[in-house]
Amino acid sequence: MKQKKGLIIGIIVLVVLLAVGFFAPDNIKNTLASFIAQDLRIALPLAIAAAGLVYEQRSGILNLGAEGMMLTGALFTWIGTSLFGGNPWLGILVGMSSSLIMALLFGFLVITLRSNQTVIGISINILALGLTSTIYRVVQTMNITVNAFPSISDVLSKIPGIGAALTNEVPNGTELALTQIPVIGNFLTTIFSQNIMMYIGIVFIFFLNYVLFKTDLGLKVRAVGEYPKACDTTGINVFKIRYGAVLFSGLLTGFAGGLLVLDIKTFVENVTAGKGFIAVAAVIFGKYTPIGAFGASLVFGGAQAIQYLIQAVGLKAPSDLMNMIPYVVTVVALAGFIGKTHVPAALTVPYTKE
């Protein structure tokens, strides 16, 4: 029932987009297409981090340290990429390992030692901010080159046999063959010209949603966050599930941080600028489901992308005010939503056996 509602909203949005693509004048079409492309790019790191946090919160652990883990992942992705000659794949693995270590520390404190999750989460952020700033100052003189992930058209063009049919050669690379479709070709091309990670990421989010609701593991995760004692009586190892969720989420937040760096191709201090917290908000706004959190991330991403839209239509507004938009949208969305969704009953409650 709940998922049906999301599906209906999704379909309506698609229909409206297609209608614009077919019937709107060119300038509106182009603006909208680049807005959507921008929205997706901003939303992806949020959605990936939020998907991990969904698992974590479903298992009963509130990780307010997501911001710090994301920041750590960002810095080490940047360093890692340069260590491996600009290779984004290996770089992001380094980033993920760094946030995994942070998550291990977090998990040990809140699961094994049963410390207060809020306090530890906030501490992780302070730790990460200090740590990354310090390390950054040491390494910033390094000559770091960051390569982006290959674009979807580059990847498709290399597929033997069908590669040529799906893509076109253009002077400085490839483009999707979508351009050849009449009327909406350019509209679609702008939207779909993303790097390969966008496609992998979205498929992964849907996969995580499936795992959470259709598999044995997912059921265990959901149950542990509701009533750990009852899980214990059915033979589930509560600690194992919670550690698993914390570490997995740690990997994904680091990954999300890495995506930020690979997108702007450099690291700056506090590059995350609250995105970890927005991801936590997306979990709630998305009703504790990976797909819901993805939808929420698109809303938050859209709030940021709208700045470019405003510039594009030539509206003059103070940039400080415009920078506020995503945060204001987050606050408003949460204020309207908090308390209206079912929060995992054992969220933030440590588990003791006897």
């Binding site: 259709k214 598999t215 044995d216 593991l217 059921l219 265990k220 959901r222 149950a223 509701e226 009533y227 004692k229 009852a230 899980c231 214990d232 009586t233 059915t234 033979g235 589930i236 079912h342 995992p344 009953a345 006897e354």
Partner: protein, 499 residues
């Protein structure tokens, strides 16, 4: 017949409490075996050890003649031991079938809920139970949840089923249903360990009885040929009076008056309820659970909004007063759901004792709590109401079920109320404590205070009450005077029929 289970010299030491002290328990295969004993005697602890939730300090467990080590519930389930806990182990936000298969080792990686649901429904049908496998647990009644718990254990292959106080929260009809199921399980060769404080139930359904007293096991006795009085004496170690002595009935002026009260209700609505409780009387509310009893109490105590009508306490209009205003009229409230409304599990006993009075002197002065006074009064209440605990620093949630109830009761009755509202006050209490609570309620009445007693146990209402109001679907079907007390008539009114 060979014993299916032998527990030998089981010892369990909690910090400061020796919960099981060399307990021996032998259970024959295919029998229903009762485990009885006072609150805190160690029944739940012993069963939690058998189910692998607690590790025994020492002792031996033989199952089907072989010694086994049970270090987690997983082992217990593998050996065919199932347990329905005193407080249910179901996850409200998940569906029935999700709860049933949760944590099963034989689950496929990708769940096949449909197949399991079909098999589960078929199993339910075998015991004449109809359950929608896709319904969320939170939408089920207590009785339905319990049936899910029992079926869940059987579905997972239990040969020995532990039922920890299964009847404490059931209506009489549901108890009858439960006994039917238990009998059928027994006929199929399954073994049941049944914990209950109700002598009548135990003597009807069980074959053998083992009594725990102060953590020690008494020699088992067959239930055939044992009387209620003998059983009571075994548990408490002295003669227990199963009847209550009351002083003469001299009702005074009105303490609580309800005039045509309507509510919309979170837990069912009230529909034109008028009542009058006078000084020196106990008004019993009889009725099947869920027929507006909760709504009645919520409207009086200020927990629910009255949409129409008036409520007067000692002549003051208290319609829609706040809970504190009501309590300050010297009203005490023993709630039906102690975990939700009576106590805070994660607070100590002494903190629980001041939940209602903390803001008053001498409990506090200038905003600082007067711990010395609080501790003294708490000690006194704990002693007077025989709450079994190592000290008053203990967390409320660590007490045995019955002792939690005594803690709440002690707090409420020691506030010297003019009106005492008691909802199922002896739920989960042993007979010794039940006797004591009944004496306390009668003492309140004899002192000239008013008592509103809500209970689904008709026996309890019949013995204690001076007048009985029968509720059905949020209405008062009628109020009977002592000489009109008649079980069949009350039964018909409870079913909504009035001649």
């Amino acid at each position: 017949m060979a014993p299916i289970l032998e527990m030998k010299n089981i010892v369990k030491q909690f910090p400061g409490v020796l919960a099981n002290d060399n307990v021996n328990l032998t259970v024959e295969k295919g029998s229903i075996h009762a485990l009885m004993g006072e609150n805190g005697a160690g029944k739940s602890t012993l069963m939690n050890i058998l189910y692998g939730l607690y590790a025994p300090s020492s002792g031996q467990i033989l199952f089907n003649g072989q010694e086994i080590q049970i270090t987690s519930p997983k082992h217990a389930i593998e050996h065919g031991i199932g347990m329905v806990h005193q407080h249910f182990m179901l996850i409200p936000a998940l569906s029935v079938i999700e709860n049933v298969i949760l944590g099963r080792p034989e689950n496929k990686k990708v769940l096949d809920l449909k197949t399991d649901a079909e098999a589960f429904v078929a199993l339910g049908a075998r015991y004449s139970m109809k359950i929608d496998p896709y319904e969320l647990i939170e939408n089920l009644t207590v009785g339905q949840q319990q049936r899910v718990e029992i079926l869940k254990s059987i579905y997972r292959g239990a040969e020995l089923l532990i039922l920890d106080e299964p009847t404490a929260v059931l209506t009489p009809q549901e108890v009858t249903e439960l006994f039917k199921i238990m009998t059928q399980l027994k006929e199929e060769g399954k073994t049941i360990i049944f914990i209950s404080h109700k002598l009548k139930e135990v003597l009807t359904i069980c074959d053998t009885i083992t009594v725990l007293r102060l953590g020690k096991s008494q020699p088992s006795v067959p239930s055939a040929g044992t009387t209620r009085e003998e059983l009571a004496e075994m548990m408490v170690g002295r003669k227990v009076f199963l009847n209550v002595d009351k002083g003469p009935y001299n009702p005074g002026e009105s303490v609580l008056k309800m005039e045509n009260v309507f509510t919309k209700g979170i837990h069912g609505a009230l529909n034109d309820v008028s009542l009058d409780i006078r000084k020196g009387e106990i008004l019993g509310i009889a009725g099947v659970d869920g027929n507006g009893q909760d709504a009645l109490i919520e409207s009086i105590t200020g927990l629910d909004k009255v949409t129409q009508g008036h409520i007067f306490i000692k002549g003051n209009d208290m319609t829609n007063a706040t809970p504190r205003q009501v309590l300050e009229q010297k009203v005490s409230h023993i709630p039906a759901d102690r975990h939700k409304r009576g106590m805070v599990s994660t607070m100590s006993i002494k903190e629980n004792m001041i939940l209602i009075s903390y803001y008053k002197e001498p409990y506090q002065k200038f905003g600082f709590l007067n711990w010395k006074f609080i501790e003294e009064t708490s000690e006194e209440i704990v002693k007077r109401f025989k709450v079994k605990t190592p000290n008053i620093q203990e967390l409320g949630g660590k007490l045995s079920g019955g002792n939690q109830q005594k803690m709440v009761l002690g707090r409420e009755l020691s506030r010297d109320p003019d009106l005492c509202i008691a909802a199922h006050p002896v739920r989960g209490l042993d007979i010794g404590a039940t006797e004591y609570v009944h004496e306390c309620l009668v003492a309140e009445r004899d002192k000239g205070n008013a008592v509103l007693l809500v209970s689904t146990e008709l026996d309890e209402v019949l013995t204690l009450a001076d007048r009985i109001a029968v509720m059905y679907e949020g209405r008062i079907m009628g109020i009977l005077e002592k000489e009109e007390f008649d079980i069949t008539r009350i039964g018909m009114m409870m079913a909504g029929q009035n001649q």
